[in-house]
């Protein structure tokens, strides 16, 4: 039972990573870049289009193109632990608006 429990814990996944979504204070906390103007800091990667982002993320025009989580409503941004809402912003590369989780102004 202990071994099974340990195995389950070991396979537990996390919604965020150093690629995208982790908290940060500077770029050293992330694989690529820390958006320190977002609540708690937000790790992200650079992109030219959605294809450069992990699944469930869009490429937006901020900072020349960065990946952020896609959403359909504010409730889908709750996992970022406060301060984030679902907003319509310009998509990088696609020339359209996309709904993504970003810090509330």
């Amino acid at each position: 039972m202990i071994a099974i429990a340990a195995l389950l814990c070991a396979c537990e996944s996390n919604d965020v990573s150093r690629d995208i979504g982790a908290r940060c204070t500077d770029d050293n906390d992330c694989d690529v870049r820390c958006l320190d103007d977002q609540p708690g800091g937000f790790c992200t990667t650079l992109c030219d289009s959605d294809e450069d982002c992990p699944g469930g993320a869009h490429c937006i025009t901020e900072d020349g193109g960065v990946c952020v989580f896609a959403c359909g409503s504010d409730g889908e941004c709750v996992f970022l632990n406060g301060g984030y809402t679902c907003q319509a912003v310009d998509s990088q590369g696609a020339g359209a608006k996309v709904m993504v989780c970003l810090g509330s102004d």
Partner: protein, 223 residues
């Protein structure tokens, strides 16, 4: 009476080597020309299967190399081990090991949105040093091949240099393998093991489970 017993015992010792391979030889019925002293041997001198490889002495040393899979805060990568074996019983040997894991890898730890520091290392990342005490129990051998099961406990250090994370680990080990004698004092050994236990890490990580699989092959030398 005692002289007759001595004759029977002597005859039994003389034919004992052929009885070890009695299963391979065709059955030959006894004839009237057989010596009367040989007839009871089937019942009184049953072949005794050896409990362990005949070339195993009470002490041996060895070295092995292989791969270890880790993940999260369990180090994985190239596994190199040194062995010291000491006989405990007919079938059991203590196997003391110094085990080194070389995985390296990039930084994979981060603060999640609840400000918890978590690590998500891959299968072959991190470095480890461990001292392991196991017992190897030989099962029935097939010619030069001797399968065995083994189990024990280890203690050591795991380190993920790119993240500045290190900790103490105490994993249990359970597995098995096969030993094959290739020369009078030399054998090759292949083994697979499951590791599971606990590690205590710094950097606000605390206690985390350890889980991994090791596959190694090596050589042993009789002392």
């Amino acid at each position: 009476m005692s002289r007759q017993r001595l004759i029977i015992a002597t005859a039994a010792l003389a034919i004992a080597p052929s009885l070890v391979y009695a299963d391979d030889a065709p059955a030959v019925p006894a004839t009237s020309t057989d010596s009367p002293t040989q007839k009871p041997t089937d019942a009184s001198v049953a072949p005794v299967a050896p409990a362990a490889p005949a070339d195993m002495s009470d002490q041996a040393i060895g070295a092995s190399i292989g791969v270890a899979t880790g993940g999260r805060v369990t180090p994985g990568g190239l596994r190199v081990e040194g062995h010291y074996l000491y006989q405990l019983s007919d079938r059991d040997w203590f196997d003391g090991r110094a085990s080194f894991t070389f995985g390296g890898g990039a930084a994979e730890c981060f603060y999640d949105r609840t400000d918890t520091y978590v690590c998500d290392h891959g299968l072959a990342q991190g470095d480890g040093l461990e001292v392991i005490a196991t017992v190897r129990h030989f099962l029935g051998g097939q010619g030069m091949y001797w399968p065995f099961v083994q189990g024990g406990i280890g203690a050591g250090i795991a380190r993920f240099g790119a993240d500045g994370v290190s900790g103490l680990i105490i994993p249990l080990h359970a597995g098995g393998g096969v030993r094959a004698s290739i020369a009078p004092a030399i054998a090759i050994v292949a083994a697979a093991e499951l590791e599971f236990g606990l590690g205590v890490f710094g950097h606000d990580i605390g206690a985390e489970p350890q889980f991994g699989i090791d596959i190694t092959a090596g050589v042993e030398f009789r002392l």
